[in-house]
Symmetry: C2
Subunit: 746 residues, 2 copies
């Protein structure tokens, strides 16, 4: 088990918010699992204590006239060298690095780092296992600051811990153009940051994904004599994260899956941007988490109750069958005499005067950005310790490799992200004689073919597995007691699903998560999908029922504007295959794009296998599917299920002697990336008679068809009726394409 050796066991009092046993959903009671001495258990409900806490917090504020807080007399059991005074000093270093950076930028959020510095210190200095000089060491503990606006907390910690990515000059260029310390944590800007947070609730859901990945890989690869995968996932989330629905979705799953190595700190500071959380957030959070199947703890004094925090972490680690939420009551902006415990300290620089007052108040005589020598010296051990942790793990891996060469090879691939040679040959191929089928079914053939060759492929659906056709038949369900399996059952939780997949993708390069729902319900998870695109997580989004072609379910279920809305989004591939070969090509592209998510829009309805489609064509984004001899008079352009319509319309027009080219524009992004020559070869600029057909919004198609062309599409909401009827009523038909082409040629 993990590095408990660096954890000081405390005999201080730790009160835990115990929800009445009537609401416990597990047969084991806390007393079965806990052996820490001296705990006081409270059965008082959260709310009433919370009220009393507010009074206490104010009373507990540090003295205002520059008097240093009296050093708490803390008994340490294992006799660690550092005194509480040094911890205080380290914690204040963190606070002032945040204060100073925000002040210099005149922008940012000092309140959270000032309140959460103690838990941050304990995590990075005493608890977590990591190697500052190799932030990508596979078996590191993961940390996610879900309340990403408080990123100066994490930058300060990375700086103290010796990460190269956050030097003093980086702290001084906080939130400036080109710096490595942007306004919210971004994994693609700062090594040592695991995921991209800031939009609230995403981070805790990412953390669930990271913890899922660990549990899955541990179950697959660990051996009784060698637990080669073994790390914790820590997160800090605030009131804002807690209010967001996505966090409830993800945490409900974390409880269901029993992610025992997920430990989340809830920064209970009672302040959000609009003021006291009393105005909008009065639920009993710990009771909710108990209902979700979590173990919960309440640390009442997060401002300087170091031992309470330590004991809570120890307790959390002792609970191995449930994730743990540690509610830590803190004072936002702790130490600021005039702004602490108010929204004024949440998202603005303190201002020179208040910075001075805070320096006075916390007895901090140092210049901005100063790290006292003893603090520096104390933290300096993390570089050698981290190197040692990694080298020990490497030795352990060498043993593992010797004894379990096959598993080691597979795990190596997952760790490195190197795809097995020739993996793409597993993808199915189709001829025009292959049976017509829905692309959602063809997608299932691809997924099942890939599962055999890609050890890192895993995923599932938001309760639509049998509609999205996403089950991997050779595997069972990833569940609490079968975490080695690869079919993930997300329930009806699209938003959480997307963010969990981001966490899985960012756990290590060889994990390739996919997730699925109806295409229209990307609206539920769009924030997570945007983060996939931004944070370079190559999630594969399997989105079926991609048009009015789904029929009777009606307009609430029929996407219209969704293709356009993803084509407009940066760094995401929108792919809409039209048959089997295009579906296989879409999967090839999606698997290869590990730093760019892919959205596959797939049909519910059957489609014929068209002659002329190809994987190679798909890789170019747009290509000629059928053509007349010589220069075309008219170009018909289709995507997905309407490629068939364009194709048939081409045949019809050719019967009438027209020279017609049919183009599949499966991915606008890939096509845009081709050379000007290639693009001109597909869509010659002097052929202005162009007709596009796509069962979605025509928005954006002017770029393709030009001002003289015609875009056939749907610029209204759909309707509830059999699919064929709607296609006909909306004019998404061969006849309409033919007539439109003729009108352009007339």
């Amino acid at each position: 088990m993990a590095a408990s050796s660096s954890l000081t066991v405390s005999q201080a009092l730790v009160s835990r918010a115990i929800v009445g046993s009537g609401s416990s959903s597990s047969s084991s009671t806390p007393s079965d699992r806990l052996a820490l001495p001296g705990f006081v258990r409270s059965s008082i409900a959260g709310r009433s204590l919370k009220s009393s806490m507010r009074g206490r917090r104010t009373a507990d504020c540090p003295p205002r006239r520059g008097v240093a807080r009296a050093m708490a007399a803390v008994e340490t059991v294992e006799g660690k060298a550092e005194t509480t005074a040094l911890v205080d000093k380290s914690v204040n270093t963190i606070r002032f690095l945040a204060i100073d950076a925000v002040e210099k930028a005149n922008s940012g959020h000092p309140g959270l780092p000032m309140g959460c510095a103690p838990m941050g210190h304990i995590l990075y200095d005493e608890v977590m296992r990591y190697n500052p000089k190799n932030p990508f060491w596979f078996n590191r503990d993961r940390f996610v600051l879900s309340a990403g606006h408080g990123c100066m907390l994490q930058y300060a910690l990375l700086h103290l811990a010796g990460y190269d990515s956050v030097q003093e000059e980086d702290l001084k260029s906080f939130r400036q153009w080109g710096s490595r310390t942007p306004g919210h944590p971004e994994n693609f800007e700062t090594t040592g940051i695991e995921v991209t947070t800031g939009p609230l609730g995403q981070g805790i859901a990412n953390a669930v994904g990271l913890a899922l990945a660990e549990k899955h890989l541990a179950a697959r690869f660990n051996k009784p004599d060698n637990e080669i995968v073994d790390h914790y996932t820590y997160a800090i989330l605030g009131d804002g994260c807690q209010m967001e629905g996505i966090s409830n979705e993800a945490c409900s799953l974390a409880g269901h899956w029993g992610l025992g190595k997920l430990i989340a700190f809830y920064d209970d500071n009672h302040i959000s941007i609009d003021g006291d959380t009393e105005i909008a957030f009065t639920e009993d959070v710990n009771a909710r988490f108990e209902a979700l199947g979590w173990h919960t703890i309440w640390v009442k004094n997060g401002n300087n109750g170091y031992d309470e925090i330590r004991a809570a972490i120890k307790e959390a680690k002792a609970v191995t069958d449930k994730p743990t939420l540690i509610k830590v009551t803190t004072t936002i902006g702790y130490g600021s005499p005039n702004k602490a415990n108010s929204y004024a300290v949440h998202g603005s620089a303190l201002g020179a005067k208040e910075v001075d007052a805070t320096r006075q108040n916390l007895a901090w005589p140092h210049e901005p950005f100063h790290v006292p020598a003893d603090v520096k010296s104390h933290w300096s051990r993390h570089v050698p310790e981290g190197a040692s942790l990694e080298s020990k793990w490497n030795a352990k891996f060498a043993e593992y490799e010797k004894k379990y060469p096959e598993e080691a090879a597979e795990l190596k691939g997952i760790i490195s992200g190197e795809l097995p040679a020739g993996w793409e040959k597993a993808l199915p191929t189709y001829t025009p004689e292959s049976p017509a089928d829905a692309t959602r079914n063809l997608s299932q053939q691809c997924l099942n073919a890939l599962a055999k060759v890609l050890p890192g492929l895993l995923g599932g659906s938001a309760d639509l597995a049998s509609s999205n056709m996403t089950l991997l038949k050779m595997f069972g369900d990833f569940q609490k007691n079968t975490p080695e399996e690869r079919n993930v059952r997300f329930g009806v939780r699209e938003h959480g699903m997307g963010a969990i997949c981001n966490g899985i993708a960012l756990h290590c390069p060889g994990l390739i998560p996919y997730c699925a729902t109806f295409f229209v319900f990307t609206d539920y998870m769009r924030a997570a999908m945007r983060i996939s695109a931004l944070c370079e997580a190559g999630v594969i989004y399997v989105m079926t029922h991609d048009s009015i072609g789904l029929g009777e379910d009606g307009p609430t279920h029929q996407p219209i504007e969704h293709l356009a809305s993803f084509r407009a989004m940066p760094n995401i591939l929108m792919l809409r295959p039209g048959d089997g070969n295009e579906t296989a090509g879409a999967y090839k592209v999606a698997v290869l794009n590990r730093k760019r998510p892919s959205v596959l829009a797939l049909s519910r309805q059957k489609l014929p296998q068209l002659p002329g489609t190809s994987v190679e064509g798909v890789e170019k984004g747009g290509y000629i599917v059928s053509d007349s001899d010589g220069k075309p008079e008219v170009i018909l352009i289709g995507t997905g299920s309407e490629l068939e319509i364009a194709f048939k319309a081409g045949d019809e027009l050719r019967k009438e002697g027209k020279k017609v080219r049919v183009v599949s524009l499966i991915s606008w992004e890939l096509f845009d990336e081709q050379s000007a020559e290639y693009k001109e070869s597909v869509l010659p600029s002097d052929v202005s008679a162009r007709v596009s057909v796509e069962a979605g919004s025509t928005f954006g198609w002017e770029k393709i068809v030009g001002s003289k062309g015609k875009a056939i599409g749907i610029d209204r909401f759909g309707a509830s009726a059999p699919a064929g009827k709607i296609y006909k009523e909306f004019g998404i038909t061969v006849e309409n394409v033919v007539a439109s082409a003729k009108s352009l040629l007339a």
Copy 2:
């Protein structure tokens, strides 16, 4: 208080899932409030009971060989005329109307109606107050089928109750083109349907909005001697709704606000599309709702425990300070001998053979769509009773009007939706000399001006009131104990906020809800916004920080593709005002569009008041802001904060002797709706030198600038830095516009 006269008080056992008192967040205990005799209180947790329930459900399935279920001997206290046999018959009528309609359509969801028919019957036949011949009667009880896929339940109930919108022929054309019975409930297709549901979780959040509206209007208009506003809001939600984050957001607010007249039935049938909910959903739902501040009840026998259901509703009504969740354990597809209690009955027709078997099993000898005479006769009273309810209320209103003429006039306006004459004169006007300001601040001026003249305006922000600038200064906060106020504090719950506003907007035509967050976080609430557009709810979305202009918060907070993504969405107005007059114009448009939501994209940064902008221009969507004499050589087109850039570039170019027109394209949708002549007058087709500038994706701009024009925008993610720096680095500058224009003229 409401129609408890039609409620049979039961002496049957009702077990309630009581969460341990430790988690109760209120000082009053359940025993303070309950007076029903004979209740058995169970302190056993939900999970273990759930497990035993599953066994029971199977055992409790009706006999399979056509033997009619023995009539339950139920004592009724108030001696209602109808026997349980008649209720059984009515419930089976509902079941078979659903079975037959789905079978005829060969599409739909029979499982929920078959399981929920008992609660449906009791609600529509015994509990709810409505007038079938005037579905819009203001004081009606509202019902929301959040699990919208089960819409045949509601269509059957509307049919039995005598609504004109659902005749026998409508049931027979379920899910067909042009029918009034689409595949999910749609308020704009079927009178009697309150809101549009189907996308899971939306409905329960709509119901929270409806209940908020009632509580607000009751607090504003009720008098000690005349409670003119007084109705309940009922909802049925399923496992899917419960899993969605939006429902947790909305229900957390409902608990916070103490919406005592919101009564939600949780159809606990333990089946979702992927199978048993055990695979993804094992949380303790009632315990979660207790944590959210709800009162909870568990009806164990939802299949035929009519008296349990009745007693639960009575209990729920007795709890006036909290919303109530009634968990009703049912069997999905109840009555189907081979498919009940399985996902097979969720979303497909039973098939002829199983329909026959179900008819046998439930002893239902009737033809498809048959309503037995005694059932018809029993339900027939609702037409006269409904008329009587409305006419009594009308008399009450007449009294109210006599005694409180001012309030009555205001309430009438809210009920009718008629805007006060001259309201638009309240909107502020600006001259070029007015101080530069951020459009978010100008928006606040408009909102505060409108609040004085529009009695139905209310709304708020998702914890960003001081950033979105949305507080109405003349009002306090809508809270549990101050529901008459109009500033709604949504907390960080964008998705719930949007759907709650849909509920408010659809409560009655004169309520004009607005809601606010950063523009980028429309991604969190897009599903609700799409429903606004679809269901014709004129919500005003106040979306500030609408570009890279927000600066240091960085790419997670900077919208890029969002303007395009809303321009592609049907029936929604995307408005991006550039100064004070345009902001006022945007509000005029938004208020007038009661059946189309508006999205206002507003700047964080200061913008000058431009000469040439106007409310009239805004109403046309696009218009000339400045122009040279004669035909322009080049047209510069800007929106929002970049209109200033286009304007200045125009001045620059004119200094160099160019003939330049500057156009504001504040709303593409409104501009599209203008006459061809008007559009040609603004953007003459023979002026192909066009440059657009907008700090967002260029996707879609080809339509405006044409293949020879140039769209200046941002087709990558943003960056964390001061706003001015990012604008410069990204080339969103006067210099770039000038240079681009010159390159086109060269």
